[in-house]
């Protein structure tokens, strides 16, 4: 049976070296973001605690700027060729990541992936987590 969908994680697979939050934080002279804004460090917190832990103005930061900084960290070898090969043969691609949705969405558009699942940042400031154990569910959806 031919493969019709390929799902990728983001950090470590499509981006190499430091993760996207570490690179973004370094670019903006905020190295503490690597942990402060990492969803894994918010495990066990209530939605209110998650919201209060987010840096002020996080949602208003321009994703394009953040991610253009993160791409300086380097894409994985063969990434663009891989997506070209898959899309030419009409294989659908997706990104499933525990990074923030606006970062993942930027990369999804960069690579031409049709679907993505990530940590949600809602308009009212609340967070919809995607934990590592949820990645399979994200793919099922």
């Amino acid at each position: 049976m031919p493969t019709r969908l390929v799902a990728f994680d983001l950090d470590g697979k499509l981006i190499r070296g430091r993760n996207s939050l570490a690179v973004i934080g370094a670019a903006l002279c905020r190295p503490e973001w690597e942990k402060q804004m990492e969803i894994l460090y918010m495990r066990g917190e209530t939605p209110e605690e998650m919201r209060s832990g987010l840096i002020r103005g996080w949602s208003s930061l321009q994703a394009s700027f953040l991610v253009s900084s993160s791409t300086r960290g380097g894409l994985a070898p063969g990434v663009d060729e891989a997506f070209q090969l898959l899309h030419e043969r009409h294989v659908t691609t997706a990104i499933v990541s525990i990074s923030w949705v606006f970062i993942v969405e930027w990369f999804a558009k960069r690579f031409g992936t049709a679907y993505w699942a990530a940590v949600g940042f809602n308009p009212e400031g609340s967070v919809t987590p995607l934990w590592p154990e949820d990645k399979g569910r994200g793919l099922n959806d």
Partner: protein, 62 residues
């Protein structure tokens, strides 16, 4: 998969750490990139050099 009306047998996943276990186990074809060994994850193809195009070629059987 539900959105596309496809089964896990038509799905491949690419990960690089134990945090990707649920993603890798959900897909029929799973690929682990990077130098770390995919311990505890059976039936996964390991690509230590992490070239994503090489993984795509295997998926596409090129």
């Amino acid at each position: 998969m539900a959105t596309l009306h496809i089964t896990r047998h038509e799905v491949a996943a690419v990960g690089d750490s134990p945090r990707d276990a649920s993603l890798l186990r959900t897909a029929r074809h799973s690929f682990y990139v990077g130098t770390d060994s995919p311990e505890g994850l059976d039936g996964i193809q390991h690509y230590p050099d992490g070239n994503i195009a090489a993984v795509a070629r295997v998926i596409l059987r090129l």
